[in-house]
């Protein structure tokens, strides 16, 4: 058998090869060279991402109705780096239960059933229960979730949390839109908004909601309706941050700026709407300054990773759930930092059920 002879020959040669002494000076020089190359590649990656955004961002009419919000920045001004923060707790749904992952990679899963986590805010973790109610769980100082306390009286059709985790927007079974502060069971005034049976609520903050009907997404306020110029694919979810809306459609995210431009990627806006976390299908992950288009590529992304969804924890950290072709069937949770310009893996979920908060 030639295969056996090849195997034996290779094994014999390997055993016989004289091994030179490690040249530490040469290796140190190679390491310095590799670092220079890597820095260069990161810079090129940032330029490419910036070019994508810059190509998509052209001056045009404002998206928002007059008087509803201040217009976008008149001149590109780089967003200042946020203050560096430590890794924070992450509220997730794992195997149908509310789970809080702690910075030391331990977790609490006290058996609270949850269909989805809408987000976290000062009042705790807001979740949608399997029975279709919205409830909040206050976290103890240790991060342990307390019991779920209902925020809505009955079943809701849709519910979303704003960027800061403070304003809950939900649609009751009759189609009326309610907005209330998390922790309160009284609406913040009357929204005056009503959704038809075939309309879905995708995002909302105080006084504004993003709604989808079929393939048409709109931004609604008590004073008007603004069509969002997406590509026509049915929207799955949306983020409303400042003067930018990110609409997620199957396989892509459409970023709608004041000019109605789009960006094909998995992306998430920072809580202030000034920075975009972008994960392209080619494995290039970056933070992009929405105002200037300046980008910063990220280190630490596994070579086989593909982002599914992402959500910001605070202005410094964004959580990304993705797949890894080297770990088929698993979901991997990465924590990416603006200030560190790097991602670290926080959780490897072999069940493939890990989902992020929707906010």
């Amino acid at each position: 058998m030639i295969e056996t002879q090849v195997r034996d020959t290779l094994a014999d040669v390997r055993a016989q090869v004289p091994v030179p002494v490690l040249d530490e000076v040469a290796l140190a020089a190679r390491v310095r060279g590799a670092r220079r190359v890597r820095r260069g590649r990161r810079a090129v990656g940032a330029v490419l991402v910036a070019a994508v955004l810059a190509a998509a961002a052209a001056p045009g009419a404002t998206l928002l109705p007059a008087g509803s919000r201040a217009p976008g920045p008149a001149a590109p001004v780089p967003a200042p780096l946020p203050a560096s923060t430590p890794v924070t707790r992450a509220a997730l749904v794992l195997e149908g239960q509310l789970t809080v992952l702690l910075p030391d990679e331990s977790s609490y899963a006290p058996g609270l059933p949850a269909a989805a986590v809408l987000g976290s805010g000062p009042a705790g973790v807001v979740a949608l229960t399997p029975s279709g109610r919205v409830a909040v769980s206050r976290l103890a100082a240790t991060g342990q979730p307390g019991p779920l306390r209902a925020l809505t009286d009955g079943h809701v059709r849709d519910a979303v949390l704003d960027a800061n985790g403070e304003v809950l927007t939900f649609v009751d079974d009759g189609g009326d839109v309610h907005q209330r502060l998390v922790g309160s069971r009284a609406d913040v005034g009357a929204s005056g908004l009503h959704l038809a049976a075939d309309e879905r609520l995708l995002a909302g903050d105080l006084g504004r909601v993003v709604v989808v009907r079929g393939a048409a997404a709109t931004l609604r306020t008590p004073t008007g309706i603004v069509p969002l110029p997406t590509s026509g694919a049915a929207a799955v979810s949306a983020q409303l941050r400042g003067d930018v809306v990110a609409v997620r459609v199957p396989g892509a995210t459409e970023l709608v700026t004041a000019a109605g431009s789009r960006l094909r990627a998995v992306a998430a806006l920072s809580p202030d709407g000034r920075r975009l976390a972008v994960a392209t299908g080619t494995g290039s992950w970056a933070f992009v300054d929405v105002a200037t288009g300046g980008g910063a590529a990220l280190d630490g992304v596994p070579s086989g990773a593909r982002a599914i969804a992402m959500t910001w924890q605070d202005p410094d950290h964004v959580l990304v759930v993705g797949t890894d072709r080297h770990r088929p069937g698993n979901h991997v949770l990465l924590d990416c930092s603006v200030t560190r310009r790097a991602c670290t893996e926080r959780f490897d979920d072999p069940t493939g059920t890990l989902e992020l908060a929707r906010r």
Binding site: I2, V6, D8, A11, V17, L22, R30, V31, A342
Partner: protein, 180 residues
């Protein structure tokens, strides 16, 4: 978090010899082997913090070597066996119990030297496929991942490599049955 995080220097000190031997089998040249390994180690060093399991960093370095060798291949000279062959192959691998080599031991060692000479003449991608499949004992799927090619390509490379070796060495004696 492991109890004892392995540092890069510690890893290199422990694995240099084994990785060098693999590099030599991939390149069939001492100078190229050292160059290939140094480059792969340098790239591993700058990514050390993002490698999840440092105890399994061998695989990372090996993949870096294989990929780099394949990338370099089109630009490199056609492989010629100019490097010195290992002086001899270890008798212990062919003769249990030691003692002076018997005639069939010498014949076996000669066959392996000839076979190695032919393996060295294979294109790098074919040689890498043989090393990964038969020495590292990787499956076809794992070999494909290491090389960054399809499983079909691994099958094809293996088939053609073995056919070349059979054609070059039609008189190679099957020694498998002769082992005590």
């Amino acid at each position: 978090m492991t109890e004892h995080e392995i540092g890069f220097g510690e890893f290199v000190a422990a694995r240099w010899s084994a990785l060098y031997r693999t590099a030599y089998l991939l390149t069939a040249d001492h100078h190229d082997a050292e160059d290939l390994l140094q480059g792969a180690l340098a790239r591993t060093c700058v990514r050390w913090s993002s490698i999840r399991d440092h105890r399994a960093a061998d695989g990372y370095v090996r993949r870096a070597m294989v990929r780099q060798m394949i990338r370099q291949w089109p630009a490199r000279r056609r492989e010629l066996a100019t490097d010195a062959l290992p002086d001899s192959l270890p008798a212990s691998s062919t003769r249990l119990g030691g003692g002076p080599p018997r005639e069939d031991d010498l014949e076996l060692r000669a066959d392996r030297l000839v076979l190695w000479a032919e393996i060295r003449r294979l294109p790098p991608r074919m040689r890498a496929t043989l090393v990964l499949r038969y020495l590292e004992d990787l499956s076809e799927e794992a070999t494909a991942r290491e090389l960054g090619v399809s499983v079909g390509s691994v099958k094809s490379q293996t088939h053609h490599a073995l056919r070349r070796l059979r054609a070059a060495l039609p008189d190679l004696v099957p020694h498998v049955q002769e082992k005590p």
